[in-house]
């Protein structure tokens, strides 16, 4: 399975999914013109990946900002990763937020409640 890499732009986050190491990185701003169109190939890649995931999957998320439609797409994506956990696989979700960004911290808690996977919520200094 090939690596999935999408470079970050002003309105799309960095996507760096490495199936060999199991590290999946999402970082930046997510306000694409069409969120479904942007997240669709990512969802498809994850669906393939969860068929035979790495021994340990670490999803590292560091969003600066995301719009409403992205919030739904991110949820759908996390649900797919959560399937690894449901099937007894080794899944770790690390959610990074910049200090004082309480909204991002709360968003992590909400996502964790919905996908029913504990998140490691990590505060980082402002960039």
């Amino acid at each position: 399975m090939e690596k999935l890499y999408i470079d970050a732009k002003n309105n799309i986050p960095l996507i760096d999914f490495d199936p060999s190491s199991g590290i999946m990185l999402l970082k930046g701003r997510s306000t694409p013109e069409n969120s479904v169109e942007f997240y669709d190939p990512i969802n498809k890649w994850v669906l393939d990946y969860i068929q035979s995931p790495s021994n340990e999957t670490i999803v590292k998320i560091q969003f600066e900002y995301f719009n409403t439609s992205s919030s739904k797409c991110i949820l759908d994506l996390l649900k797919k990763f959560a399937d690894i956990h449901k099937k007894g696989g080794n899944l770790k979700i690390e959610w990074y937020y910049e200090e004082d960004d309480e909204d991002m911290k709360e968003a992590a808690e909400d996502y964790s409640d919905i996908v029913k996977v504990p998140f490691e919520i990590i505060e980082i200094p402002e960039e």
Binding site: S69, S71, K72, E106, D110, I114
Partner: protein
Amino acid sequence: MAEKKQLFATEIQVLEKYQALSNSSEASKEDVDVALKDLCEHYEDLLDQSKLITKVSDKLQNKLNTLNEALGQKNTELQLTIDELTKARLSRKAATYTLLLAVLLFFISEGVLDPIVEAFTNNIWVTMGVKASLALLLKPIEGVIEKYLIKMAMKKTAEVVLAAA
């Protein structure tokens, strides 16, 4: 609208599946029980999604409001700075015009006023008094020129704003 359909594609699929089942006369009680349980799970999931999306949307609105307020404040500060800079520029312009006027008045005084005054009196204090009066007039004249320039600049700005609107 097309995007919303795609965004909730899974949910729409579930709805259509159970709408078809509810319209079917062949569904057994067992089918209905299973469907109801599944539908409840989907409903719970959808409710969670609604909560999350509403929360995210509210937070975005709050962020936008805060940014708008900050932007409004910055705009006011910027406008004040622009006004001050314009005033300073116009003051300098008014000072230049006044200086030119002072030079002109000097020549008028030397060439025209002095011979007229001297024709009536030889008293040097009268000549000096006329010159001093002219010199004292320069400051109010500068003020008038400055006010006129500011008025013209404001009129020009208003025309630009109206044209843009």
